[in-house]
Structures are given as structure tokens and as C-alpha cells.
Amino acid sequence: MGRRGRPFDPITLEILWRRLISIVDEADSTVSRTAFSSLLRDAHDYTCMFTDQKGRELAQGSFATPGQSGAMALGIKNLVTKLPWKTYKPGDVFITNDPWALAGHLNDACVISPIFYKNKLVAFTACVFHHSDIGGRVSSDNHDVFEEGLFIPLVKLYDGGVLNQSVIDMIRWNVRTPDEVVGDIRSQIAANHVCAEKICQMLNENDLENLDDLADQIITCTEKSMREEVEKVPDGIYHAEGMIEQMKGRDNNIIIKVAAEVKGSDIIVDLDGSSPQVDWGGNVVYNFTYAYVFMAMKSMFGPDIPNNDGCAKPIKLKAPEGSVVNCKFPAAVAARLVIGHFLTEIIYRALSGVVPNKVIAASGGTPAQMNVFYGKRNDRSPWHSVIIRGGGMGASSISDGNYVYIFPANGANTPIEIFESDTPLIVEKRELLTDSGGPGRMKGGLGKREVFRVPDDKYAPIPPVNLGIQAGRYIHPPEGLFGGKPGARAQFLVNGVPGNPYGLTQLKPGDVVTMDAAGGGGFGNPLEREVEMVESDVMEGYVSIEKAKEDYGVVIDPKTLKIDEKATKKLRESLKRA
């Protein structure tokens, strides 16, 4: 309750609520400006949040990575409620990268700090960073988590304000780039510190003892908004099945089955019937599966509601234990995004029949494409860099898919001028791929081509240059919806010949690697796309003259780049009849 034992009036509530969000945004910007690895500072692969003293998420950074944020909301609650509260002291800081406890692979390490105000526990603040190295064998084809790197169970990094140097040392000796990893952990501690200070300041200024009553009201209010939207969906059980390609040499696909039951204002998602866990790194822990189921629901039913514990209340998830979407320890999990990111689009497909205006077709940025490059320069100094690539987004009922985004995850690219300064490689191309967007009444977003060269001149690095890839869409392209066609497939070429896009590739000076990201699926029948839009697509080089004719039935004069209206009308009529 508020200051006088009454509930906060709606105005005060909103003011305090916004304050909480700006606190976590501030912590967030501290990270991007102080972190050392380019994956954090440039690609923003991290998430900051805080909970009340019961572990219920209250606010998270506006620029969150859905996989981390959804998994944290669940994971932090489980973690902090495991220990009795009295064991926490001011000045404690915890760290863990337990994939099953939090964000699903060892690289995502979480630093958690209990926050005390007037000697009482009032909140927990936490941030997950994707560390670009965590030791181990960097590849998707490991057989269990032991091969994948250092596993840090929940341990104290600081005990009552005293640093536990052994933990730092242990991390230092298990990773390839110790300065960077430890520097980034320091940045995590700083982010938590900023968050803690500001929360206490806010309590003090508003004459509050703790966050409990405020949390109750925020969460209740949020839950209500979500439920109101879910309630509008007719009751029923809605099914879809997703087919995800496996590593090269394995011909069977991974199947994910979704049965989404809408019952009043609740949605129960059951993944029963999904494939069993696999003997490579694509396995997804429950938390991470949940995160991308949640991502789908949040984007459909409350895209602009601030994210907190209340958003999750109407959503229940059942995933069979031992399946690829709820794997058991010690399964290999490093490449969990390769399967996990698909949950969002499969949920969209399941519900597309009842809420066609709230979904998009499949995206080329599903899964996000992680590329880990490392090796030695010609002076023997080690180098290491991770880039994330996106693809074309799926189209929706009212708009074309956006180009080259990472969806449903989020993140940013690394500027070429930074990548080349950090590595001995040369980037030869980074461009949109014409015709890669799935044709539709609304066109799928374009994919992108990036070409990397290992120099063979005086800057040639000592071979091999290692390239680890976590990606997908090489076999099954992003599908369209309601008559929309699929986007272009992804490609991975080494010196012009298809390479193995799933494991570890070793390159030598002179090698050229081409990586194409897939385009998004189209929405609706391409023959119904407005001809002027096709004309403009051709003008801009998004669609070629040939494909305009073949896919859209629009005839463009190659000299003037204008529509031949008569020919178009005739062609569209004949195509519609066919």
C-alpha cells in the first residue's frame, strides 16, 4: 500500500512504475558503454532486470533480448526462492551460468545481487551477459555440456562485500580471453550496483519501506491488461507443427508440436509429441523454450505493455521432460537458439487461423545466426570475435517484412570498421539479397549476404582461422502464411562450394566464405500485391524483373522500369486461373 496505507492512486502508480523502468534502462546503458566484448557493446546481447524480494520480475531494460529476458523472469524467481531469505547479506553478489537455471547455455552468465534498504531485503537485481567465450570446444556438435565449457553453479562472487578471488581465478584459467571475460563480469557488477543505488534512492524519496505493495499493484494491473486481450480469442485448441533441419549428415528433422489451448483468459501451450533430445548442441532447456513461447504471446497480446511478472501469468507451458524442448542434464545446449528461436513462429502459425492480424510469417532471422571467429594473428597474438546476423522478417497482414533483423531475438551488428580492427579478416560484402523476400500480398523481408576473406598477403594470420556457426534455414526456408511464398534459403559457401554450416570450419589464408541469411516469408497471395508496389520493388532492386513476372504476375519493361499494364492484367488473370 502507499504511504498512508492505501493503494497507490493510478497516477502515483504510473509515475513510480515509469521510474522503475528508467532505473533498469540506466543500468542497461551503463553496460553498453563500459563492456569490453563487441558482442555486448555493439551487438547488445545482454539483459538487465530486477525483481521484488519474492523474485517476481518488476522491470527489465527496454532493449531486452527476449530469450534472456523471458528465461530470467522464470529463472531468477526459482533461484532466489531456493535459499531461505535470511542467508542473504548486504554486499553479496552471486554468479552462475547453469543453463538449466537460467538462459540455456554456458555463455550466458548471470550476476545476481540482493538489494537491501534499511537493512531489509527489498529486491534482487540481475543481468545476463552473453560472454563471447566460456572455454570448451566452440562448436554445435558436442555431445554433452561438459565439452561446451566452464559450468559455474550458483556461487558467491562477493560475500558480504568481500571478493571471492578464487572464483575469478577459476574463470580466468578456463577461458580464452580472460581479460575480456573478467572485464565484462565487472561491468555486470557495475550494472547491478547502479540499479541497487537507484532503487534505494527511489524508496527513500518516496518514503517507502519496500517494493512489495508497489509490485503487487504493478503485476496485477499488467496481468489484467494481458488477460483482456487473450479473452478476445475464441476458446479452443489450436495446433501447429514445426520441422527444423538437423546437422548435416542427419536426415531426420526435429519436430516440434504445439497445441495451444485458449480457455477464457488463459493459454496453455502443450509441446507433447515433440522430438526427444538430441546428441548435439541444439537442445533447449525449459526456461529458454518458455522464453520464446512467451515472446510470441507478448507480441500478440501486449506488445507495448511494460514487461514484468504479470505478463506471464496467463501463459502456462507444458514440455515433456527429455524432449528437445525440455532437455535433461547433461545434454549439449550451446546451440539452443537453433531450435529455441523457432518456438515463436510455430506458436504464430498455430494461432494464425484465429488471430491472423496478430501474427507474421516465418522469419529469416529465426534462428539468429551466430558466427564465432577465432585464431592467431601473424605475430601469434590471439584474436576472437562473435557476430550475430539477422535475416528478413516475415510479412504481416498489413505490412512487408522488415529487412535483416534478428527476430524473434534481438541484437545489433558489429560495424565492419570495428570487426576488421578486432580481427585480421577482410569483409568484402554486406548487402541485401535481391529476390530473397518471400513473395506475398505483403512481401517478406530481404535477407543479406556477407562475404569474408582470410587475407593471404603480409597480414595473413597463422592458420587455421576457426569459424563456429550456429544457424539454420539451409534446407527448410521460412514459410509464408495465407498463400504467401517462402523466403530464400540461407547459404554457406567456402570458396564458392557449399560448406558445413553446422559445426566448426577451419579456414586458411586466401579462403573466402559467403554467408547468406534467409529472407522472410510472404503474407497472402502475391498475385494480389498492388502492382505499384511491385514496380517500386523492381525500381529499388528488391525484386528482379524476372521474379516480378514469375511470382507476382507483373510485367515490367526493362528499359523504362515501368509496368506494362495490359500484359500484367493478362498474365495475372492466367496465373490466377492456373
Binding site: 504510473e14 494491473c221 551488428n413
Partner: protein
């Protein structure tokens, strides 16, 4: 700036009005004029403004030796997508840098797939690559293929682009290829305006650099046409008169220079407001101030730190980044016209959407039916329906009442007044949060700050905002509605120069470093002299963008100007960086290696400092300034009968206890209970808590 007659005129072209101020430096007097902005030809409005101020002041144009102009033409062209048809030349393979951007979805779009970034300012078919490559060490990796350049330029010529933007990879380390491409452009297509990224924004990060340079090309022809038109008209009517233009960095430059640096003119108008805030804070003896400009649709915040507006090199317009030194303005969607709305879960929001001037707030009676901040102020008695804009615009309380009842009060189960007050509290909280975001979050202690409200709507909200932020002094300047124009005339001429070095502290050659500073400095001095600035008025400031090795964001640390640079000086620079890092991020790493990213030089041509005559104490009894008594609605109190004063009737030294309302032509000052105002010797109203002197 070399000047004898000591008469300055500032002309600020706003969306509705063109504000003009004339300053007689010798006497220290200000005179003001306001004319409607002519959207069909902005130059006409400027000339009308000049005519009007000459008439009011009885001066001739020959007596004016410093004419400065602030314009939003750049910002508007970007927002409305009305820039020039431009072409972009990149390194082959990177033509899409403008469209791929940094890949990141907009911040608000983490869960909203319908939100996208704005379209690139140059369409894909006008973006062409040339064969060449510089590597990350600044060496030529692939020679420039001049045939590929000629082909591309011929195409752009055929497409009749007005501007060509050249942005090649790593040109900030080695501009030779860009320069050669520019030569070929000028040879084949001399009519096009050519912008080089190595000249406009010689810094790393290809997307940000390209986008900034594209701004220059996109705006260049528009601004050049405008400047030429304006200068021609000035010449025809008044003979030769040197025109200065306000830049986004808070300094001015001559119109001739401005024609080639149009990217520097974005935010030219609001920068004037920030300079004026600095002027007021200096005048009243304060080092730290928040400038709060609240108009119809936006609330522009500026920070005055040690007497000068804070600047940034990470600004932008909308989602387009601009990596140039500019006054750090934060704009939020909060103004008199901001709309109040209740979302499906019953939460009240105000803004960022605005009723604008069409249809305008419901109470204007121009057809608006949705409730706005102005409507709420009217219902609470905080605006006078018969004295808005000095009575030129009658307001309709019944229309405000209907809008608020229908869209807020009934939906939330509140009375009319409670609903109106809620609207005000929310918009105040939004503005307070905006201020806090750019001050408290950057390590400033707001208790050291004064708040300077200006623009039509700010003074009505200022005390409430200050109270929420813990600011205990508000200074309401007398030229409140024309303050941006005042900012123009007090600004110095100023230019910024940058060079990327990208070297670790141990790899730094101090001789090269010194030489780089001296080269940039020489360019600054040359430029200022060309603009008629006297040697004695030139001030040079050095700074560097530094970071810990491995970080990717820099902090700008001031560097003492010196003629020798030894290891001791380097230590001094490094320790000031560690201190700064600690101040901004609450930790530092003195043992880590520091990287020098960019060197910056600011060249300033000082204008004589304006001194204003102080007024003698002449406190008047409050009764003499009282126009009437009117009920005003307050939180927890309801309607309270308070005195309404006319600002012009107060003399220096008058003490005005709250609660009361002070009306003037274009603004209304609310002093709530517990606060009191004093008229100072410059006619400012200084508002402080009642129990303090």
C-alpha cells in the same frame, strides 16, 4: 567578432511565429518583435521580422553589425522527408549500409514487430558502389578503379541527383580515395553538391558516419537554396549585410560557410534556446541550469554545465544518428497540445501524440474534441480564457470540459477537476522524468541547478516540475516567449574539428598528437579569420575521446592546450579520464590501458559579452499589480481563490507570495502555495520555497 557599432539582431523562425530581438550593446537594451512565419517562403518572414524590429526600434539597417538567424528548416526537411534527391557512393559491396543500419530493431519494438526504423534518406537505386578498399590500418588494399567511379557518376548525373555523398570504408584513416572520387564527380558533374564522409564526419563506425554525411547531402541543396534566396533578398533590400546562422553546436557561422555544412544546422532553433538558458544562468550568477522549453507539442530540455550547454556527439533526429558535436537536447512529446488518453486497462497517459495546431486543443474551438494539457489547465483555472495570447485567442471552457469528461473523467470514475489535475500530474511527471533522465542519470545533483522555463507553456508547470526534482530555484526570464531569439544573439561563432587516431596510450607518438591538434587548430583559426573574427577574440579548446582498450564507447575529456606535449602532460590527460569515467559510470580502472580514439578542437570567435543595466529597486504594492481574483484548483485543496497579477506592473524587488497566477502576453506563471517569487534587477521572476530567502 570584429564589430564597431555594437548592435545585434537575432531572428528565430519557429513553426507559428518568427521571433526577433534587437540588442543595443552599449545601452544593454533588448527590443522584441513577433511576426507570423511565412511557410510559402521562409525568407519573406525573416525579412518582415527585420523590417518590423527596425520600425519598432527606429534604427536603420546600417546600424546593425551582427545579424544572426536560427532555423528549423533542416530538422523539418528530415522529418517531412523533403530533402534533396541525393546519390550515395560507397565501397562496392556496401551500398546497403544505409538500409542495413546497425540491424537493431527500434528500442520500443522488442515485442512489437510492426515497428520499423524510418526509411533510408537515399533509395537503393541511387546507392552505388565503386571498386576500392582501404584496410583497418589505413593502407590501400585495393586500388581505386577510376572507371568504376566514372560509370557511377555518369549514372547519378543521368538520374539528375542534386547531391552526391561519398562514404568509403576506413576513409577516416585515409581519405585519398574519397578525395579522388570527389574530383571525378566535380569533373563529370560539377553541378552536384559533393559531401565527403572524411570531411563531414571523419570518425569510425561506417553506418553512423555515412548517415551523418548523407544528412549533409540530403539537406545541402535545400539549405543552399534557402540561404541564397535569403541573402539575395537581404542584398536587394538592404545592400550587403553579413548573415550568421546558428549551428546545432550552439555556436554560429557565416551563411557562406553554412551552405556547405548543412548537417550542422539541424536543431539550429532549439540550440538557441539552450544558449539563452546559459545566458540567463550566467546573468543570475548560476553555473548549472536546466533549460525547459515547453511549446505546443514538444518539451525541449537542455543542460547548462559550468555556464555552457552540454554537447554530445551521439545525437540525431528521430532514429537517424548524427555524429557531429551538437547541443545535447532531449525532446519529449509534452506540450500544451499533448493529448490525454486512457488505455484499455484504465491507465491514464498524456502524449506523446499532440493535437498540434490542427485541430488544436478542444478549448481553442478549432474543431478539436480530444482533451489536452491546455484543456486541463483551463478547467483548473490556470489559464485565463480571456487573456490567452493577450486576449487574441478566446478559449472555450465548455469544450475543454466536454473533452475531459468524455475521454478521461468518465472512464476513470473521477470528477472533472480530479481528471484535469491527473492530466497535469502525468504530464509534469513525464517532463520531470525527461529532465532526470539527462541530468540525474548522468551524475548531476539537481539541487545545484536552477530551472529556466520558457516557451508558451512552461512557466505554468515549472514550479511543480522543480518540486518533483528537488530543484529549489526557478528563474522565469522576462523575454520568456522570445528566449530562443535571445540565445541567437548571445552565441559566439564556433566550429568543431575532429580527427580519429585510434591508438593505445603506449603506442601514442606525442609529437604526432601535438601536430594533429595544431593542424586542426590552424584550420579553425583560418576559418574564423575568414569570418572576420579578430585574433584577440579567438579561443581554442582541445579535447579527446578516450576509452579503456576494448570498450567501444568513448568519453570526451578536456585537454589543456599546450605548445609542448611531454609524458607528464599525458599522465595528466589519463588521470582526468579515469576521474571522468568514475564520475559517469561510478567506477574506473586506472591500471587499464587507455585508447585515444578521436582528437577534437573547438575554435570559438567570441562575441562581446552582453551586459545588461540593472534596474533600481522599485517594489510595488501587490494591489497595484492585481487584476482580479479567480479560483484555481490545487491537489488536496480543491478550488482556492487566488490573486491574478499582470507581470508588467511589477517593479524590481517586489515579493510575490504564492498561491497566485502571474499573467503576461504569451505566458502564464503559476506560483503555488509554499513558494514565492521575487522580481530581480533584470526583471526575472525568481521563485523559491517560501521559507528560504
Amino acid at each position: 567578432v570584429r564589430r564597431e557599432k555594437r548592435m545585434r539582431v537575432g531572428i528565430d523562425v519557429g513553426g507559428t511565429f518568427t521571433d526577433v530581438v534587437l540588442v543595443d550593446e552599449k545601452k544593454g537594451t533588448f527590443q522584441y518583435a513577433k511576426t507570423p512565419t511565412k511557410h510559402y517562403d521562409l525568407a519573406v518572414g525573416v525579412l518582415n521580422g527585420l523590417d518590423e524590429i527596425l520600425e519598432i526600434s527606429g534604427r536603420s539597417v546600417k546600424e546593425i553589425d551582427y545579424l544572426i538567424h536560427g532555423t528549423t528548416i533542416g530538422t523539418n526537411a528530415i522529418i517531412e522527408g523533403k530533402g534533396a534527391r541525393a546519390g550515395l557512393i560507397t565501397t562496392k559491396g556496401f551500398e546497403d549500409v544505409l538500409e542495413i543500419r546497425r540491424v537493431a530493431r527500434p528500442k520500443e519494438a522488442a515485442f512489437d514487430f510492426e515497428v520499423d526504423n524510418p526509411p533510408p534518406l537515399i533509395p537503393r537505386y541511387l546507392r552505388k558502389g565503386v571498386i576500392e578498399r582501404i584496410n583497418s590500418k589505413g593502407q590501400v588494399h585495393t586500388l581505386l578503379d577510376e572507371n568504376s567511379v566514372r560509370e557511377v557518376v555518369a549514372f547519378l548525373k543521368k538520374e539528375k541527383v542534386e547531391a552526391i555523398v561519398i562514404s568509403l570504408l576506413f576513409s577516416f584513416l585515409n581519405p585519398k580515395h574519397e578525395q579522388r572520387v570527389a574530383e571525378i564527380c566535380r569533373e563529370i558533374y560539377p553541378e552536384a553538391l559533393v559531401s565527403l564522409s572524411s570531411e563531414i564526419c571523419p570518425e569510425f563506425r561506417e553506418y553512423e558516419r555515412t548517415c551523418t554525411t548523407v544528412m549533409n547531402g540530403y539537406l545541402g541543396p535545400v539549405i543552399k537554396r534557402y540561404m541564397d534566396n535569403l541573402m539575395n533578398r537581404l542584398k536587394q533590400k538592404y545592400g550587403g549585410i553579413r548573415l550568421h546562422i546558428m549551428q546545432s553546436n550552439g555556436g554560429s557561422m557565416t551563411a557562406e560557410v553554412a551552405r556547405d555544412h548543412s548537417a550542422n544546422l539541424i536543431n539550429s532553433g532549439p540550440a538557441g534556446g539552450a544558449m539563452a538558458t546559459a545566458f540567463i544562468s550566467k546573468l543570475t550568477g548560476h553555473d548549472y541550469a536546466i533549460g525547459a522549453d515547453m511549446g505546443g507539442t514538444t518539451f525541449d530540455i537542455s543542460i547548462i554545465d559550468r555556464g555552457m550547454p552540454r554537447t554530445t556527439t551521439w545525437g540525431g533526429v528521430g532514429e537517424y544518428p548524427i555524429k557531429l558535436s551538437m547541443v545535447d537536447m532531449k525532446t519529449i512529446g509534452a506540450g500544451g497540445g499533448s493529448l490525454a488518453w486512457v488505455d484499455p486497462s484504465g491507465v491514464l497517459h498524456v502524449g506523446p501524440q499532440s493535437a498540434g495546431s490542427d485541430p488544436g486543443p478542444a478549448c481553442y474551438g478549432w474543431g478539436g474534441t480530444l482533451p489536452t494539457v491546455s484543456d486541463a489547465n483551463l478547467i483548473l483555472g490556470r489559464l485565463n480564457p480571456n487573456y490567452f495570447l493577450g486576449g487574441k485567442l478566446p478559449l472555450f471552457p465548455e469544450k475543454a470540459e466536454k473533452a475531459i469528461k468524455e475521454h478521461v473523467a468518465n472512464k476513470m470514475g473521477l470528477t472533472l477537476e480530479e481528471a484535469a489535475l491527473s492530466i497535469i500530474r502525468i504530464v509534469n511527471a513525464n517532463m520531470a522524468k525527461g529532465i532526470s533522465g539527462v541530468s540525474v542519470q548522468r551524475g548531476y545533483d539537481l539541487r545545484e541547478f536552477i530551472l529556466v522555463p520558457f516557451g508558451g507553456a512552461a512557466a505554468n508547470h515549472a514550479v511543480d516540475i522543480a518540486a518533483e526534482l528537488g530543484i529549489s530555484k526557478i528563474v522565469v526570464p522576462p523575454m520568456c516567449g522570445n528566449l530562443s531569439a535571445v540565445g541567437l544573439v548571445v552565441a559566439d561563432v564556433s566550429h568543431d574539428y575532429v580527427r580519429t587516431v585510434a591508438k593505445r596510450q603506449h603506442d601514442l607518438n606525442l609529437k604526432d598528437l601535438l601536430e594533429a591538434y595544431q593542424t586542426l587548430e590552424a584550420e579553425g583559426i583560418r576559418q574564423l579569420k575568414e569570418e572576420n573574427v579578430d585574433e584577440k577574440d579567438i579561443i581554442i579548446e582541445w579535447s579527446a575521446d578516450l576509452r579503456y582498450e576494448g570498450q567501444s564507447w568513448e568519453l570526451n575529456a578536456p585537454i589543456r592546450r599546450t605548445s609542448t606535449l611531454g609524458p607528464k602532460d599525458l599522465q595528466e590527460i589519463l588521470s582526468s579520464f579515469h576521474d571522468l569515467h568514475y564520475k559517469v559510470y561510478s567506477y574506473s580502472e586506472p591500471k587499464e590501458t587507455v585508447e585515444f580514439v578521436n582528437l577534437r578542437v573547438k575554435a570559438i570567435g567570441r562575441n562581446p559579452t552582453l551586459t545588461l543595466p540593472k534596474e533600481k529597486k522599485d517594489p510595488v504594492p501587490l494591489s497595484r499589480a492585481t487584476k482580479e481574483k479567480r479560483p484555481i484548483y490545487f491537489k488536496d485543496k480543491g478550488f482556492v481563490e487566488v490573486p491574478i497579477y499582470e507581470r508588467d506592473r511589477f517593479g524590481c524587488g517586489t515579493k510575490i507570495p504564492g498561491p497566485c497566477l502571474i499573467e503576461e502576453m504569451i505566458s502564464t506563471v503559476l506560483i503555488p502555495e509554499g513558494w514565492a517569487g521575487t522580481i530581480d534587477e533584470y526583471r526575472n521572476i525568481v521563485i523559491t520555497p517560501m521559507n528560504e530567502p
